[in-house]
Point group: C2
């Protein structure tokens, strides 16, 4: 997957879309082969530290706020009263930190299969793990699919699938069968959200299929929200929400507007704007 | 400015921000040194044709709709009744095409210094020039700064600065002095809009300075609108609007909602969402 401009660059090549993105690096800080994936951390010249899994850019200090705010706050402000939140994946703990900003949340359980990711975050991304000591947070290192199967019916309010791409260890998280299992453990009124790749590259493929799979799994409403994400393929990314007896096309706008969270990207206006969808995406979903 | 992954890639390196973006190319279609700049056109594997000026990506078939819709429609739907529109730069004619979708527009004058850009668009980007025969369109090849100086006071409704980056031939278009000249030729109620670089890279520098310069030039309201643009540095771009006795923080939402233009990105909801600005940008503008 990786190539380089010269020795000073980390490059991720997206062969299926004929594009590549590179960051100038100054030092390799970590190179670990975990039982699940190849984990690297680099110091970059202008993006702070960079985490890479199996050759794919996961996050940088500079722009991870976009992804983490957009996978957490739209789902949390869509649910009427989110108390028990579950994160599958999310080992870097950035999503956990955003979820814990919601004062009504009583418990957040994070299940990542690979403890090496969290260890790397603790060493090289201290800002992401700063909420880990919150007594409401529970960090488990286990197989998320199995964890879901062992969880009682209708026991979760919000389920966040903060996974890598649908290849490698996260492949099972993109199947209809898994979505049905997620549906089962959500309470009525529950919301799930999954990262859903690039609006430019995947509207007519991965995103459309995920939306259909969510509907087949029983969810009665689905909404895809695009947002900028410079270090991901095409610089443009999305999350897709699904509601169990809940309308994910609406959210607690007043609560979002009056919250005093110190955010960098999310606003209720951005949430509403994202819900409207660019016309080319709307067309891709029904074609 | 250019480097390459191997012979099959076109790479633009953004040295000041330690990042690079690459597209896989299959053929070089044009290589011209005009009196003003170095113009290249490539066929890419997945983005259609690619235009490059002085080593910087200008546009591709696949994603130019984002930039062209966002530099045209927010300004046109902000002006109360845009009849005479002027485009400085814009030689690829994509902005012109979007402006001409507005039925109330009576005349669009486009002034680009470099006729080679328009010739290349005619040969390699036929979709962009398909409105050029509209009797309301006037294409001039001349110095835009001089053209502005020769234009009577208060004679233009909307002025669009569709330029390259603030280096090379477009440098003069980013100076306070030029903004004052633009202010002079706008009618009261007039709106100008300028492409204003990357929200991630330039909020605290180029964008902030442009906003201040616009205010110093006499404009009484200013609004920056971010939008995704995969092939530009950081994959995220912006336009900045300024009003002469006009509030660019509001627009004709009802007209935008009821228009039946066949657009791919712009919606009134996206316009409203962009106007709200991410909090990190708001902070960068006042710091």
């Amino acid at each position: 997957m990786s190539s380089s401009l010269d020795g000073q660059w980390f490059t991720e090549v997206f062969n299926s879309h004929g594009s590549a993105f590179s960051l100038k690096v100054t030092e390799k800080l970590l190179d670990v082969q975990s039982p699940y994936q190849h984990l690297e951390v680099y110091a970059t010249e202008t993006f702070g530290n960079l985490m890479v899994l199996d050759g794919c850019v996961m996050l940088t200090d500079r722009d991870n706020f976009l992804y983490h705010e957009m996978i957490a706050h739209p789902a949390l402000f869509t649910h009427a009263d989110p108390r028990h939140v579950v994160i599958i994946g999310g080992g870097d703990c950035g999503t956990l930190k955003e979820v814990l900003r919601h004062p009504g949340v009583e418990k957040v359980t994070q299940i990542d299969i690979d403890q090496e990711v969290t260890k790397a975050a603790e060493r090289f991304f201290p800002a992401l793990v700063e909420a880990n000591d919150d007594p409401r947070a529970e960090l488990l290192f286990a197989d998320g699919v199995k964890w879901v199967d062992d969880t009682p019916d209708e026991s979760i309010d919000v389920l966040i699938i903060d996974s890598t791409d649908p290849v490698g260890p996260a492949e099972g998280l993109f199947k209809t069968d898994f979505l049905k299992r997620c549906y089962r453990i959500l309470k009525p009124g529950g919301v799930m959200v999954q990262q859903s790749e690039s609006p430019l590259y995947h509207s007519g493929s991965i995103i459309r299929e995920l939306r259909r799979d969510m509907q087949e799994a029983g969810f009665d409403s689905v909404a895809t929200l695009p947002f900028p994400q410079p270090v991901y393929p095409s610089g443009w990314w999305s999350v897709t929400l699904a509601g169990k007896n809940a309308d994910v096309g609406a959210f607690r706008e007043q609560d979002a507007a009056s919250s005093e969270m110190p955010l960098d990207y999310y606003t209720p206006e951005a949430h509403r704007g994202a819900l409207a969808l660019p016309p080319f995406m709307r067309r891709a979903f029904v074609e």
